[in-house]
């Protein structure tokens, strides 16, 4: 759905990373972890296109002025360019136009499996809402978070507060183990698990290969350049596993994803 929202808060968590809370219609409360939203940073034509962000959290809050619970949606974002820079300048009370929820979310899997979340950098964002849903189902959840340095590792205490066991790896060793998060992950993989991963493509490729080698089912959440977010422009496609020029099999990240089973995709 498309709706006008209001910024409730927009807080800098670490250099370049912000967490923004916005008002949302009640219906958004049923959004699935892994779904995303698209927002128009400005009413002007620069930047022109909407920007996509995963749902970091959806919940309700009590306002001071009345008793009824109000729905909010949160995103966790990194400032990387013009749009996110403008976003970071928004304040409480500013209006913003949203499309949400978009895309297909994570399927939570079967009860009793150990749930393994793997996040690279800002890829951590959609995993928090997922962790909440899994914990609410009574699942055991472990999080593997990776980044270049300690500033890239966000909201770990929030995950821990949910009861999630966390493992951290950074390229420079400023937080957790030094190295790739996938190296840490590999030591903990085994039967009876299910993986949910979000992050840069090389990381997702490594995770999906590892998952296959260990026979662990794995879902990945992808990013792509998007224009429409609703499956109309065909700008955001990824080749499916059996794609070739003769038998084209492109999947829309916005509509068929952003979450895919890792075996659905072609990993070059």
């Amino acid at each position: 759905m498309q709706f006008k929202s209001m910024v409730i808060s927009n807080v800098e968590l670490s250099p370049c990373y912000f967490r923004m809370r916005m008002t949302a219609p009640q219906d958004l409360g049923t959004s699935l972890p892994g779904q995303f939203l698209m927002l128009k940073v400005t009413e002007s034509i620069d930047p022109l296109l909407r920007r996509p962000f995963g749902l970091f959290d959806v919940g309700t809050f009590q306002a001071e002025y009345d008793e009824t619970p109000h729905t909010y949606v949160e995103i966790l974002y990194k400032v990387v360019g013009k749009g996110t820079r403008m976003l970071s300048a928004l304040h409480h009370g500013d209006g913003i136009d949203l499309l949400a929820p978009l895309g297909k979310g994570f399927r939570l899997g079967e009860k009793g499996e150990e749930k393994i979340l793997v996040g690279g950098g800002v890829g951590l964002a959609p995993l928090y809402y997922l962790a909440k849903a899994l914990v609410a189902q009574g699942e055991k959840v472990r999080l593997f978070a990776g980044g270049r340095n300690r500033d890239d590792i966000l909201c770990i205490t929030e995950f821990e507060r949910l009861g999630v066991e966390t493992y951290v790896a950074t390229d420079d060793g400023t937080l957790g183990e030094q190295g790739f998060v996938t190296e840490v992950l590999e030591k903990h993989l085994g039967a009876g698990q299910r993986i949910f991963a979000c992050g840069p493509m090389p990381m997702l490729g490594a995770v999906s290969r590892m998952a296959e080698a260990h026979g662990v089912p794995c879902q990945v959440s992808l990013e792509a350049y998007m224009a429409c977010g609703v499956g109309a422009c065909l700008g955001c496609v990824m080749p499916g596993a059996n794609h070739s020029d003769q038998t084209p099999d492109y999947r829309c990240v916005c509509k068929d994803g952003p979450v895919f089973d890792s075996f659905e995709l072609k990993w070059s």
Partner: protein
């Protein structure tokens, strides 16, 4: 004042208002049903259709540029069989004319797609995209050579009894001679403009941003070029014209009508605002009401110039 008359007719296609959705920016209609009332717009034009399914280009396929975007989708589409089986049944239930945009990789293919669509209920008309490379002739674009364009239009004319709109490419030195060539070959209406060929470069990586290197520019950035071309063609060709290019609101749309367009298409605007087509129709009507104009068709070509 009573409500202004918003209806227009293009090549025998009767529309409740002049707002059509541009090919490739509105999917097959269903994608937008959650965001607007499909029965509030004038007509829908579907994604460029070819005989066989088409894979399209590798990614990145789109990139934003100041006031616009470049796309090199590569005309990915489901092909005519899947279109008829999977997309058309839905569209038939919507009480809004559906115009099918089509193209061919060869001259013959244009004719085949057109004849397959001829006689199909639920297809109000066709729009022929001539901004495609002729695979058999070294990739020269049909729509940039008046002779090649004429061949395509003649062949499609023979292959269909449906109203035929020919969509012109702006990537030419003289759009008027292209328009005249297509009119002579039997077009019932002309739509313009398709995207302007452009390019974007990543300085630091020293690489083109699009996998296809070049792409088509659309959005507000191209509106002045589109207006100029519509105005030039309208002065020189008798056929009804459909104006396209960077239309974001009702005022933009009405400017195209003043320049000589009978109807307009909304493209990139639907990406920023999935309800854009309906909103633009409403804004046009509002303008007429506020200015005491009784019918939108009275504005066609009414520019004081």
């Amino acid at each position: 004042m009573h409500k202004p008359d918003m209806s227009v007719e293009v090549a025998g296609i009767k529309m409740r208002n002049p707002v059509m959705t541009a090919s490739g920016t509105f999917g097959y209609g269903a994608e937008f049903a959650d965001y607007l009332d499909l029965e509030s717009i004038g007509a829908m034009i579907t994604k460029g259709l070819s005989l066989k399914p088409k894979a399209g280009n590798p990614t990145p396929r789109i990139v934003e540029t100041p006031g616009g975007m470049l796309n090199a989708i590569g005309l990915q589409n489901v092909g005519i069989d899947a279109f008829i089986a999977e997309k058309l049944p839905y569209l038939k239930n919507v009480q809004t004319p559906v115009v099918v945009n089509l193209y061919g990789n060869t001259l013959e293919e244009y004719g085949e797609v057109a004849s397959r669509l001829d006689g199909l209920p639920g297809v109000a008309g066709i729009e022929v995209n001539i901004s495609c490379p002729n695979v058999k002739q070294g990739g020269i674009v049909f729509g940039t050579d008046p002779k090649a364009a004429q061949e395509v239009v003649r062949l499609v004319r023979k292959s269909t009894t449906k109203p035929m709109i020919v969509k012109l490419s702006p990537n030419v030195t003289d759009v008027v001679s292209m328009a005249i060539a297509c009119a002579e070959a039997g077009a019932d209406a002309l739509s313009l403009i398709n995207t302007l060929t452009g390019m974007a470069i990543d300085l630091d990586r020293r690489r083109p941003i699009l996998a296809n290197v070049t792409g088509g520019l659309s959005g507000p950035a191209i509106k002045p070029v589109a207006l100029r071309m519509v105005w030039q063609v309208a002065k020189n060709v008798k056929l009804p014209i459909i104006g396209i290019g960077g239309i974001m609101n009702g005022r933009d749309a009405l400017e195209f009508m003043l320049a000589g367009a009978t109807a307009i298409q909304v493209g990139t605007a639907s990406f920023l605002d999935p309800g854009a087509a309906q909103r633009i129709a409403r804004e046009m009507e509002q303008y007429l009401t506020e200015n005491g104009i009784e019918s939108v068709s009275s504005l066609i070509g009414a520019l004081n110039a």
